[in-house]
């Protein structure tokens, strides 16, 4: 049994703001829940399944179900960092296929710009109790430092260059200039990326994603409900997920969990990388994109630098138009988690509702990929293949 075509995304909503000084995390979860349900043409009373991750306040799923007034028969609080929401869409589809719910709401929200303290409590407590904590706490692992370790090793093994990594930011900024809500709406050049300060060598400040308040939500529904909705829906065709960790101290920094989650998603969907018209690729850092497109099979391992260097990621004409909203690198990385916005832009592309300058013509098949945690130690990878309503 597979989940191919067993559910559809009927609603998708991205919070329009990037700085939200006057609302709580729970309020922003509510904002995006209302937005996604309205987009689908459904109401809070229709929701019988709810999915959220570590960004939800208090007791997570319990607290938010109470806050929103949901009456549920299915709840899933899978936490794999920024990739959680791609897992949720896969899990929601499986739950719908199994008859556990028929309208699944997935929400994400966070305020890392306006209220950094709201973000850190959970992560700190988690790390303090981790069995590896004593062996990793004394070495100054900044988030960008961890990704820099991966970038350095990739450069060493494959000759990848800073210019090639920079093109990933340039392509994202090329798209962001058409997004009026983007946090960084200005197109940048390779030189500007290379001239921005080094944060952790070889990564520059502009190799990093933005830090933004905000959130997003999607609504996943059964085929029966999708049929009765006026709004165009998007079919879930394949899903794969995989944790990757330090592997008993034999960590490999040049692969991500996408090397496992990707093939599972492609197999379930019955398609190959060459069939994909548009890809949302998790972009916490430029190196995240580079390793992921290799691992998903869009090019050979080690050839990602050459793949991006000839503007292959630029919409609408590149070989693999990616992150046409500007991605986490330029548009939005709400709650320090980029997974939800990856799903939302893929839905826009399949509905033909991306900005005209970056809409992929006749976009029939899209991929969305999430990477939670860190390339430097342990990560959660999740891949979705989505298709048009009649796919």
């Amino acid at each position: 049994m597979t989940i191919r075509g067993k559910a559809s995304i009927a609603g998708a909503y991205e919070h329009p703001l990037r700085v939200i000084p006057d609302r709580t995390v729970a309020q922003v979860h509510a904002d995006v829940a209302v937005g996604a349900l309205a987009d689908a043409g459904l109401s809070m009373d229709d929701v019988d399944g709810y999915f959220c991750a570590g960004d939800a306040p208090g007791f997570g799923g319990f607290s938010m179900a109470e806050y929103l007034g949901l009456q549920l028969r299915h709840i899933d609080t899978t936490e794999t960092g920024g990739s959680s929401y791609l897992c949720h869409v896969g899990h929601a589809t499986a739950a719908i296929a199994a008859g556990k719910c028929s309208v699944a709401l997935v929400t994400l929200a966070g305020l890392p710009r306006s209220d950094p303290a709201s973000m850190m409590g959970g992560a700190r407590a988690m790390f303090a109790s981790a069995p590896e904590a004593g062996f990793e706490m004394n070495h100054g692992m900044a988030i960008h430092g961890g990704y820099a370790l991966a970038a350095r090793r990739h450069m060493y093994e494959f000759g990848t260059t800073s210019e090639q990594l920079a093109e990933i930011k340039v392509a994202a900024s090329h798209h962001a200039q058409f997004n009026p809500d983007a946090f960084l709406p200005k197109a940048v050049s390779i030189e500007e990326v290379l001239e921005s300060p080094l944060v952790s060598d070889p990564l520059h400040r502009l190799d990093c994603c933005v830090v933004t308040d905000g959130g997003g939500a999607v609504v996943v529904v059964s085929p029966e409900i999708a049929r009765d909705l006026e709004r165009r829906t998007v079919k879930v065709l394949g899903h794969g997920e995989a944790p990757k960790h330090t592997n008993n101290g034999r960590i490999d920094l040049t692969h991500t969990g996408a090397a496992w989650s990707g093939p599972r998603a492609f197999e379930e969907a019955g398609v190959t990388p060459g069939d994909i018209d548009y890809a949302s690729i998790y972009d916490s850092f430029t190196i995240t994109v580079l390793e992921t497109i290799e691992d998903l099979g869009f090019c050979e391992k080690g050839k990602g630098g050459a793949f991006v260097a000839d503007q292959g990621l630029r919409a609408p004409d590149g070989r693999l138009p990616f992150n046409t909203d500007g991605g986490g690198l330029c548009n939005n990385h709400p709650a320090n988690r980029g997974g939800m916005t990856k799903v939302i832009e893929a839905v826009r592309q399949l509905r033909g509702e991306a900005h005209g300058e970056v809409q992929v013509p006749d976009c029939q098949l899209a991929l969305a990929h999430g990477t939670g945690g860190s390339l430097a130690n342990r990560m959660g990878s999740a891949t979705l293949i989505l298709g048009q309503e009649d796919a």
Partner: protein, 135 residues
């Protein structure tokens, strides 16, 4: 001894043999008594054959740099220590361990470079392993 921020690690019955050895300037590693795999990070459960039971072996304290980064903008107490070198060092016994490269100009660190262990003591007793270029 480096001037990097150094905090006492949590010591549990599971990890006490490792940290006790560091206080004496010795690097020991757990090795599975069933399958002989050298384990990292230190624990008594073998992630290779999934059984409990280790013996603690004396490591050479030498290895090669697998990857490194010069961090210019560290977090919290590391802000003032910037720039510093964070690295994975592949020990001669196999594991790749997260650490810092010290006692050298950060600009001279390279992948594949030979390094050996240095110890930064904590007031509580355990010492933190960091590495310096050989020769």
């Amino acid at each position: 001894m480096s001037d990097l921020p150094t905090f006492a690690p949590p010591v549990t019955p599971e990890t006490k043999p490792f940290w006790d050895a560091t206080a004496e300037g010795r690097l020991v590693l757990p090795r599975c008594t069933s399958c002989q795999t050298v384990i990292w990070y230190p624990r008594t459960f073998c992630p290779a054959c999934h059984t409990e039971g280790v013996e603690w072996i004396e490591a050479t304290g030498e290895g090669t740099v697998y990857s490194y980064t010069v961090t210019h903008k560290g977090d919290g107490p590391w802000r003032d220590a910037s720039p510093y070198v964070m690295a994975y060092v592949e020990l001669d016994e196999g594991p790749r361990v997260l650490t810092n490269i010290v006692e050298c100009d950060p600009a001279t660190v390279t992948v594949g470079q030979r390094v050996s262990v240095r110890w930064d003591p904590t007031e509580e007793g355990p010492a933190i392993p960091r590495f310096a270029p050989v020769g």
